[in-house]
């Protein structure tokens, strides 16, 4: 019995040492929470804000700095790529289809083997194959707007001219890129999702921040007004938009062609009830 | 004692040569040279 206790205590002491070491002897880095889909507030962004967004993605969601850093040696440092891009297009080893520095940068994130910097290719492929993944899919999954933001950031970083335009359309949701199903939506929520109202408006569960808040629109507007707002958006411009004043040409004009009558009626009745 | 040291020195030289050849061969197999050229 005595030896059993000695053994037991010995083992518990060892275990406690390991547990304590892991808790106190090692820096307790708190890993980032799983990425949530961010609604990009593009319409009201200035170029500086767009570049800042690129910076945030570059150092965060894009996980670029995991490899593109000066010490690891796994991927080229990107400080000057915004201006080198032009030279790359003329390089004999360039295999891609880009015709401008901006296109080159976009292509380099998706078709990563179009040009592989010397010394950074997959071992044994003689720098013809890149180990970099396609950032628009898979674990990183940047949307086209996010990629544009990173391009803007890289161009600014190199001191080159920022040629990227801020996308005016709402970006596609990362995981909902499939074409709309053929059958008409059956509930107001389905209509809202199908026509991406939430990209700009606060409506239902969505939290868009470009167009007027529709969560209580039924308190101030009637059916006729709302029907017109969907079918002919520029007819009456709302007074209050988040950030900047509402402007004509912001809301898509083709809902009249896309929506079925039943979907329209469902949506209008839903909004009228939202008080 | 003498015989041990004598054998040791000879064996050391042979081993060193062997390992050098091994290094060169194995690095070559991976498409690289033993010494790094910039």
């Amino acid at each position: 019995m005595k030896s059993f206790l000695k053994i037991l205590i010995f083992n518990i002491v060892i275990l406690s040492f390991y547990a304590l070491y892991a808790n106190m002897g090692i820096p307790q880095v708190k890993p980032e929470a799983p990425p949530k889909e961010e609604k990009l507030d593009l319409g009201s962004m200035t170029m500086d804000q767009f570049i800042a967004l690129g910076d945030k993605i570059y150092n965060g969601k894009g996980t670029c700095t995991l490899c593109h850093n000066p010490v690891g040696g796994r991927a080229p440092v990107l400080d000057a790529v915004g201006s080198i891009a032009a030279d790359r297009l003329k390089d004999a080893r360039y295999k891609g289809k880009a015709t401008s520095p901006e296109e080159y940068l976009r292509e380099s994130m998706v078709d990563t083997s179009a040009f592989v910097v010397t010394g950074f290719g997959v071992t044994g492929t003689n720098d013809t194959k890149s180990p970099m993944p396609d950032v628009s899919t898979g674990a990183i999954g940047l949307s086209p707007a996010e990629i544009d933001a990173v391009i803007a950031y890289l161009q600014k970083k190199a001191g080159a001219e920022v040629t990227v335009k801020i996308p005016t359309e709402a970006p596609e949701a990362k995981e909902g890129g499939e074409a709309a199903p053929a059958a008409p939506a059956k509930t107001p929520e389905e209509v809202i999702a199908k026509y991406a109202c939430g990209a700009c408006h606060i409506i239902g569960k969505e939290q868009g921040a470009l167009g007027p808040d529709l969560s209580k629109i039924g308190a101030s507007k009637n059916e006729a007004y709302l029907r017109q707002a969907i079918l002919d958006p520029d007819a009456v411009i709302a007074k209050n938009c988040p950030g900047a004043p509402c402007a004509p040409g912001m809301m898509p004009k083709d809902f009249a062609d896309k929506m079925t009558a039943s979907e329209m009626e469902m949506l209008v009745k839903f909004m009228v009830k939202s008080k | 004692m003498k015989s041990f040291f004598g054998f040791f020195v000879v064996a050391l030289v042979v081993s060193a040569a062997f390992f050098l050849l091994l290094d060169v061969g194995l690095m070559k197999l991976q498409g690289l040279t033993l010494l790094y050229h910039h």
């Binding site: 010995f10 892991a22 890993p31 180990p131 970099m132 898979g138 | 390992f19 194995l26």
Partner: protein
């Protein structure tokens, strides 16, 4: 004479046929792609090669037959009051793995021991083999219990994930379930029939059953490995997760074989260490000299098994990590350069503990023979080399620093100590540790003998020379490539380092085998004459191995981060976050304590079963 020959040929043929039977599942998995369900689709595909319309039709059919991975929300994960689903699965899976590793490993060395017993006609080996298989029998049912708990927990807490997985893996899961009939049958016949099948030709039959047991067990593990590696490096599905028709591609994904190899070797090492703990426990509670001698010998044998499994393990792990990098640079870098990097420092500390315990046990063991006195003076040098290597092994690369510290250091890395944190230094350290451990083993092996061959001084000189040359070579490769070259060179330099180590071990083993032929036994090994503290080294080995396996299991599972199936099926549960290292360590420690409690229970059972009626 002829009759004996015929018997031998018969069994060899039997063995051969059974090898085929074992290999069958592996080979047939390759051809299991075409089933009734997708035969139509295959026909459409092959016919459609010439025409435009048919491929489109096949596409549509494919989409209809095999849906993509579901997109889940938090609401899709059932909650059970009082239970945290993630922790349940974590504990059930880890405990299942520990017992499964043990239950797979024991038949491997029992088979080998039985073989040695047959070859040397030494009954002690056979008796010891029988004792090992007896211990593993209770562990077998506990493995199954945790397996059942794991499956139930997965169904309860992650039903949609399980639906997706069973859709893909139904054939392997059924095969897995049915194979257990073979596993149980062979294990029980092997154990219960041990004495009945003890003599003459029957012994060959018994050995064959042991071989089948190993084959079935390994196949079971390979099947389960397919599920787990699919989650990490999915193959055979499109980016949305829809099955592409080829079962073999799903099973034979990137990480399948590296994990298979790693787990086979690690199981052996782990199984050896658990038996070692069993022997240590029995030794310390032994009351007679015979028992002490018996359990001392058992502990020694178990330790040899554990250490021989331990030595190639870093390289199997290195291949596993290399394949992870090849599959996804991002996953590889998150593993070793990102948030999981610090875990490898903890791993380093544990491996240091393992090497030190293994060596300490060998040094203590030298007390069994008077002849060891002439070698004890070398122990301190070996200790210095191992501790020095351990310090390099455990030096981190990236330190979390304040701005002042950054300024004082002149950058994020120290000019000379920084490279100690990267692979060339680590490889150098581990190769040196392995070499010096082997040296301890060599000294132990010769402590009770004197070589009588005439060329003994030359033989010793050759061994000493190869050691010195190899160490110099390994250090040169590590220092030169670590400080003066770039990444491809650094990675490639590990190969000549490993080969140098392996060469030394093989060369010295061969020289020893010849040099000590007909050697004089000056001071025979007195089994049982070993200090009690040596047994604590065996416990240290077992508990460190267990905890290390838990930690590594966490890393393997955690590297998927917020994915059920990496890049294909997102984990949207409330527990999708990656926890801190401290938290993970606490769960692993809890699991290890549960494991210890059950193992104590098993050891106690073996005690009471030996007790006679009052």
């Amino acid at each position: 004479m002829i009759l004996t020959g015929i018997k031998k040929v018969t069994c060899l043929t039997l063995l051969f046929l059974l090898f085929i039977a074992w290999g069958g599942p592996h080979v047939s998995l390759q051809f299991s792609g075409v089933t009734v369900a997708n035969a139509e689709e295959y026909a459409a595909k092959s016919e459609g090669a010439a025409t435009e319309a048919a491929p489109a039709k096949a596409e549509g059919e494919k989409k209809a037959e095999y849906p993509p991975a579901p997109k889940l929300t938090e609401a899709d994960y059932p909650k059970v009051k009082g239970f945290n689903g993630r922790i349940m699965i974590w504990l059930a899976a880890q405990l299942h793995l520990w017992f499964a590793a043990f239950v797979l490993a024991v038949p491997i060395f029992v088979l080998i021991l039985e073989g040695i017993g047959m070859a040397t006609k030494d009954e002690r080996y056979d008796k010891m083999a029988y004792e090992f298989i007896k211990v593993s029998l209770t562990a077998y049912s506990i493995t199954a219990i945790f397996g059942g708990l794991l499956v139930f927990s997965l169904i309860i807490f992650y039903p949609d994930f399980m639906k997706y997985m069973t859709g893909l893996f139904s054939s392997t899961m059924l095969a897995y379930a049915f194979l257990f009939f073979a596993e149980s049958a062979s294990l029980y016949i092997y154990y219960y029939g041990w004495h009945w099948l003890h003599d003459g030709f029957r012994k060959w039959v018994h050995l064959t059953i042991g071989l089948i047991l190993n084959g079935v067990g390994t196949t079971l593990m390979f099947l389960a490995n397919a599920w787990v590696t699919f989650m990490m490096s999915p193959g055979g599905v499109d980016p949305a997760g829809a099955f592409q028709g080829d079962h073999w591609a799903v099973i034979h994904n990137f990480l399948w074989n590296p994990l298979n190899l790693h787990r086979v070797i690690a199981n052996i090492a782990y199984g050896g260490s658990v038996i070692g703990a069993y022997a240590a426990y029995k030794f310390l509670s032994a009351t007679t000299k015979e028992d002490r001698a018996h359990y001392d010998w058992m502990g020694y044998t178990a330790n040899v098994i554990a250490v021989s499994g331990l030595l190639p393990l870093p390289f199997a792990g290195y291949w596993l990590t290399k394949e992870m990098y090849a599959y996804s640079q991002q996953m590889g870098i998150t593993l070793m350069g990102g948030i999981f990097a610090w875990l490898f420092i903890i791993q380093a500390v544990l491996i240091g503990a393992l090497f030190l315990s293994a060596n300490y046990y060998l040094w203590c063991g030298m007390a069994r023979s008077q002849g060891a006195v002439r070698y004890t003076k070398y122990i301190k040098y070996i200790a210095v080399a191992i501790i020095g290597s351990f310090l390099v092994w455990f030096t981190p690369h990236t330190l979390v620093m304040t701005n002042q510290e950054l300024k004082a250091l002149g950058g994020p890395y120290h000019k000379y100590l920084g490279p100690l944190g990267i692979m060339p230094a680590k490889n150098t350290a581990v190769n040196i540790m392995i070499l010096f451990t082997y040296l301890s083993f060599m000294l132990y092996r010769r402590c009770n003998k004197i070589a009588t061959v005439s060329w003994a001084p030359a033989g010793n000189a050759a061994q000493a020379a190869i050691y010195v040359a190899a160490i110099a070579n390994i250090v040169f490769l590590g220092v030169y490539h670590g400080y003066f070259t770039n990444t491809p060179f650094k990675v490639a330099a590990s190969v000549p380092q490993v080969v140098s180590t392996l060469f030394v071990i093989i060369f010295c083993a061969i020289i020893d085998a010849f040099m000590y032929k007909g050697a004089k036994e000056v001071a025979p090994l007195q089994w049982g004459k070993v200090p009690d503290r040596s047994q604590y080294a065996l416990f240290m080995l077992a508990i460190s191995f267990t905890w290390l396996m838990g930690l590594m299991g966490y890393i393997r599972s955690g590297i998927r981060q917020h994915w059920h199936v990496y890049t294909i099926m997102r984990d949207n549960s409330v527990d999708a976050y990656t926890p801190t290292i401290g938290y993970a360590a606490q769960v692993v420690t809890l699991a290890t304590m549960i494991f210890m409690a059950i193992v104590i229970f098993i050891f106690w059972l073996s005690n009471i079963s030996a007790k006679k009626a009052h």
